[in-house]
């Protein structure tokens, strides 16, 4: 697949509203840039960590449960800041309260299935035409993965859904 980038909150604000950029600029002008820079660094480190978690799933699809958990901890704690929440609600037809959880499941499923890569997500944040193409591909990957997970869930007999034993 082509290079694509998506970094949830930042992409949303930068690409669709520009609000964060303006806010950060104003804040950095009005206050000491130290704390802001530290926060940005921390966010960047978290994103790098998540990138490597996804890279691990690419190589080892069996690690998806860990990646899913990592993703949910990351976005769950930032629920109010999950910038893509409205997009996921519309794209996957899920309640807003479940957006981060569903996003993580679909994302990890897509990566484990080889339909998306960690690099794809990173690349999709570019505001270039290529980045927008990548964003479309990421949305496609999320849709496909989400529908597959839903179909699997529907096909499972109630007992299997409960105990996971397949009987």
């Amino acid at each position: 697949m082509t290079a694509r980038r998506i970094r949830t909150g930042r992409w949303t604000r930068l690409e669709l509203t520009g609000l964060l950029v303006v806010t950060m600029y104003l804040v950095s002008c009005a206050t000491d840039a130290g704390p802001l820079a530290a926060a940005q660094r921390a966010a960047s480190e978290e994103e790098a960590e998540f990138f490597y978690v996804l890279k691990d799933v690419e190589r080892n699809p069996g690690h998806r449960i860990m990646a899913d958990a990592y993703c949910q901890v990351r976005y769950g704690k930032l629920d109010a800041e999950f910038g893509l929440s409205p997009l996921i609600v519309g794209l996957l037809e899920v309640p807003e309260s479940n957006a981060a959880e569903v996003y993580c499941r679909a994302l990890v499923e897509a990566v484990a299935a080889g339909e998306l890569t960690g690099s794809d997500l990173t690349d999709a944040q570019a505001t270039t035409p290529e980045g927008l193409v990548a964003m479309g591909e990421v949305m496609r990957g999320l849709l496909v993965a989400h529908e597959r997970l839903y179909a699997q869930q529907v096909q499972k007999p109630p007992q299997a859904q409960f105990c996971g034993c397949g009987q």
Binding site: T2, R4, T12, L16, T17, G18, L84, P86, L87, I88, V89, G90, L91, L92, E93, P129, E130, L132, V133, A134, M135, G136, E137, V138, M139, R140, L143
Partner: protein
């Protein structure tokens, strides 16, 4: 939006507009998307609502695009 559609529907740049129009028409005809929703999307630029509407539109386009063409009445 054309670039996003290229990635979403896996079509070439030159086919993107045609693909969007076909999918949008199909989605509207089958009732999975409405003119009101498209109007909301168009009017909700640069807001959180736009993300919601964008997601809905992309979903509708994707499913309409992958659907087989609606069969027409067979000729006598």
């Amino acid at each position: 939006m054309v670039h996003v559609v290229v990635g979403l529907l896996q079509v070439g740049d030159e086919d993107a507009t045609k693909a969007v129009c076909e999918a949008l028409t199909k989605a509207t005809a089958t009732g999975s998307y409405s003119a009101e929703q498209f109007r909301s999307f168009s009017l909700s630029v640069e807001s959180e609502t736009s993300l919601l509407e964008l997601g809905r539109l992309m979903r509708a386009l994707y499913f309409a695009h992958i659907l087989k063409p609606i069969p027409t009445a067979s000729k006598p």
